[in-house]
Amino acid sequence: MKIVVFVKVTPDTAATVKVDESGKVTWGDAPLVLNPWDEYAVEAALQTKEAHGGSVTVVSMGDESALEAIRRALAMGCNDAIRIEDPALAEDDSLSTAKVLAAAVNKIGDVDMVFFGRQAIDGDTGLTPPQTARLLGWPYIGLVSAFREIDPDGKKLTAERTIEEGRQVLSTQLPAVVSVAKDFGEPRYPSFMGIRKAARAKVPVWSLADLGIEAPAVKVRLPELMNPPKREVQCEFIEGDTPEEIAEKLADKILAEKVL
């Protein structure tokens, strides 16, 4: 099977992200990492390759910092990588990104499955995976928690996905696009050999000209980024001689807030 997994580099989840005086987003010296949701996509892509043969290509759009994410995915076991960078992509939104990623899938050619994480923890939109599917004209199964059947010869895919009401089992045709949810299972750690191989890997860079497309129009803009209002709360500590006394006082305080 020919498998593509799209990844993004993001600040670590433990980072304190702030807007500085010039309006720019900073996260101090916190490291850039493979977007945590994408780790599950890489894991699912690798398990699919291991079960059905073939190769996994990791693709990321971004400047050289994207190599942090790409090298992590390579170290986990992806076979090769492509980075997409072009000065005309300085601005983007979910749909313009999806157009670039769909063009990349078409250029790679003969792809059977495309994997995404559920969303990137910086932009938090979760729109790009279904949009890429729609632009490719391929079926989409979002938030996959398990595969029941992947049949590359019969071009069939059956997967469980997580929805508000529980789990939904969908079957569809290949090629298809999926996004992978956290309940798929723990992503693997890179092996020592994998890390060494990833460090040496040469990652080709594709421009828009390589993809054969013009810069897609950007329709959604973020004119202003702000630090959220500080939570101005003074914690009132409830004390008492017994748990019952504390509970009694606390329950009265909560009832007085009229939130029940």
């Binding site: 989840t13 433990a14 304190t16 992200v17 702030k18 807007v19 987003v25 945590p36 939104d93 979910s94 749909l95 923890i121 910086d122 938090d124 979760g126 729109l127 790009t128 279904p130 949009q131 599917a133 729609r134 079926p139 989409y140 199964i141 997580t162 508000e164 009401e165 789990r167 939904q168 089992v169 969908l170 569809t172 956290k182 309940d183 329709k219 959604v220 803009r221 973020l222 004119p223 202003e224 980024l225 702000m226 939570r231 709360v233 914690c235 009132e236 500590f237 409830i238 748990p243 019952e244 504390i246 509970a247 009694e248 606390l250 329950a251 909560i254 009832l255 807030e257 939130v259 029940l260």
Partner: protein, 349 residues
Amino acid sequence: MSKQIWAYIDHFKGEPLMPSWEGIGAAQMLAEKLGGEVVAVILGSGMDDAVQRAFHYGAAKVIVADDATLADYRPEPYTETLAKAAQEHNPAVILFPTTTRGRELAAMTGAALDAGVIADIIDMDVEDGKIVTTRPVYAGKLLAKAVAEGEPQIITLRVRAFAKPEPDESRSGEVISVPAALSEDAIATKVVEYATTEGGVSLTEAAIIVSGGRGVSNNPRLQPPPDITDENEIEVWRGKQGFKLIGELAETLGAAVGASRAAVDAGYIPYEHQVGQTGKVVSPDLYIACGISGAIQHQAGMRNSKIIVAINTDPEAPIFKLARYGVVGDLWEIVPALNEAFKKKLGKK
């Protein structure tokens, strides 16, 4: 002809999800400021009841595609049908609830119509005739203003961020039927079955959440059954007992049960309960954090709760910086006592 402001009604097996009605409320606000009429849009099979309820909640018109191919949400027929209806009726705005289906359908409809999509907003206003939205980024560590060019503007609303209008059963309006766009043999995706997980109150829709962290297993007095001897298994067993206490308090309050990542990773409770940056983002009226220290990743998921109550043995725990009320104490003593106190005060046995 006046502009149409659409509110897409997400449903499961014909039963609309509560946040769908919040979309009608938000559409009413936009219709007042931009001019225009509120139109609810319903795709499904056997949707007469949902159509009437959309009128009760304030829709002036309802566009409905009622067809067997639309009985279950599937991306292809829903996107195709909605996009076709939009091309015909030219709405200025399409609002979706940020549910799993709503987010997905908004994204694909945007791709089908080549329109900008703004996901998961918590606020919006009209400035100089343009919609300016506010949405959290970096899991709520920052806020961004977001604007879209062109029409339709496709926007998904964070669940519970917009008020639900009061229904009025005397209201009705014009029903506009549109056809389903795809025949069954043109749809690759089929629903095989549903495997429901445990019931209970949905986290993102919950008005009250009682949440547990790693601290719920911290009860050395609690003796495990004799067949559990492994240290790790004893901890997990204690964690599960701790979540039973949390669950009992949640039941008394009609609340959903949440958990920190630490509790989920330790295996005390399934992932679907996780609140935080890599779990669910919630904003209930009341959030009771039990044995949760309040790591930045957890805060990202719950800091917008109206009233936060923290119960923790460590007075230095960061969760107390967010909390309105705090108890420095053992949740194994406080939570059952609190449950009893609420039962008494709320008149429950």
